[in-house]
């Protein structure tokens, strides 16, 4: 092959970008994380604030959807009651793979201060969680950071491989 003395890996060499399929797919996945609106309690207010203009989730490509079938990521924001547990599982099952879950706030992580008969002690008893976000409630900056960390996690994954079954079942 001819030596063109052109460093293709540098921008400006030619109007092309060399990459792997993994990187290309993960670039797409990590930068269009459509989130399922899942505000269950006061964390939902912080989640809404993160989506609104001041913190502006749209910059990350994170757009809230009302349908699990259009969502890639479920942000469980708030207290999950036992009565609601079957519905969160049903909605999670309706999401198309690959899918990710952020457990936002103390209640979703561990049940939080609701150490009672009616609260699920952590959503990871029902659905597999990728990222636990501490706080009561976490600030919008924290949720932004969580999304960025999730993007980092997605970029480290193999694109073609089916998601490894997580902790549950």
């Amino acid at each position: 092959m001819a030596q063109h003395q052109v460093d293709f890996t540098q921008s400006g060499g030619l109007p092309i970008a060399l990459t792997t399929v993994d990187k290309l797919v993960n670039w797409g996945r990590s930068n269009s994380l459509w989130a399922l609106t899942y505000g269950l309690a006061c964390c939902g207010i912080e989640m809404m604030a993160s989506g609104a203009s001041r913190y502006d989730f749209d910059r990350y490509g994170t757009i809230f959807r009302s349908s699990p079938r259009q969502s890639d990521i479920m942000i469980v924001a708030g207290t999950l009651t036992k009565k609601h547990a079957e519905f969160i599982r049903r909605l999670y099952d309706q999401m198309t793979e690959p899918r990710w879950v952020i457990s936002m706030g103390s209640c979703a992580n561990t049940g939080g201060m609701f150490n009672t008969y009616a609260t699920v002690q952590g959503v990871d008893r029902v659905i597999p969680v990728d990222l636990y976000l501490p706080g009561c409630a976490p600030r919008p900056e924290t949720l932004q950071y969580a999304v960025m960390m999730l993007q980092k996690k997605i970029r480290a994954e193999k694109a073609g491989k089916a998601q490894r079954p997580k902790r549950l079942m």
Partner: protein, 268 residues
């Protein structure tokens, strides 16, 4: 010198008991001290048995027989101008006398008076619904059933109001454990995955301070990431916290924190 006591588990025990505290009682007045209430009580007494009557915090309290509850309420609504049923609730006295006390709070806007009607029902005794008289009794009676198990006759929709329909037990009973009985603790697991999944998922962790500090198979600690399954009981490396990977991200410009500019002029 005081005898030594082991204090290793001192945080698990109540360190203070108020031995000399006596619960204050609310002073009561006789019904005769209020003309409006005296007239009301006379009207009720003319038709029904009133077991006890007094005024407490400017409110008339009467205790009636449980079988009379519908009749007394009908009288109060139609003749005594108590138009509103504010709240009704059951009180668990099962340990003391194997009965529930049902408290109904009434308001008369016309007379600007409030009163409480109380009656006790035995554990398995059903009461007559007040729903035909007061619509607000609908949910209150459903809640009474849901939380205490008090059954109500002639209610149009006798169904649990807060807990799921397949819930077992009545959570506001004094005998109900705060963390739930066995059915409650495994409720979501049994319902979603089936009973055979109990061993896989495990019991609920009720210790809010529980941390699985050295579990690197299920958790990765931010800023201290190690490969899957590494033993970190001896310590773990610090990994820099960064938004992006060292070699940058495909098609995205690398963030350099040093190049960031602090904007001080708000009107720029």
């Amino acid at each position: 010198m005081r005898a030594y006591s082991d204090k290793k588990d001192v945080q698990k025990k109540a360190y203070y008991t108020d031995r000399y505290w006596v619960a204050p009682t609310v002073p009561r007045q006789t019904v005769e001290s209020d003309d409006v209430f005296a007239a009301d009580l006379a009207a009720i007494k003319a038709k029904f048995t009133v077991l006890e009557a007094y005024i407490e915090v400017e409110q008339l309290v009467i205790v009636i027989n449980p079988d009379d509850n519908f009749g007394v309420m009908k009288l109060m609504k139609e003749e005594l101008q108590f138009e509103q049923l504010i709240e009704m609730a059951a009180v668990d006295w099962l340990a003391r006398s194997n009965e529930f006390e049902i408290v109904v709070m009434m308001l008369s806007m016309a007379k600007r008076k409030r009163m409480r009607v109380k009656y006790t029902v035995a554990k398995d005794q059903a009461v007559e619904s007040l729903n035909p008289l007061y619509r607000s009794a609908d949910w209150a009676e459903r809640e009474m059933y849901d939380m205490h198990g008090v059954k109500v006759n002639n209610h149009p929709y006798m169904k649990r109001i807060l807990m799921p329909d397949d819930w077992q037990g009545h959570p506001l009973l004094k005998s109900y454990p705060l963390h739930g009985d066995e059915a409650a603790q495994w409720y979501e697991v049994d319902k979603i995955f089936g009973k055979e999944a109990r061993d896989i998922i495990g019991p609920e962790i009720r210790d809010s301070a529980a941390i699985e500090r050295y579990d690197t198979e299920r958790f990765s600690r931010l800023g201290h990431e190690v490969p899957y399954g590494t033993d970190i009981s001896e310590g773990e490396p610090d990994t820099p916290l960064a938004y992006q990977e060292e070699d940058g991200v495909f098609l995205i410009r690398k963030v350099h924190e040093d190049d960031s500019v602090e904007i001080t002029d708000r009107d720029r």
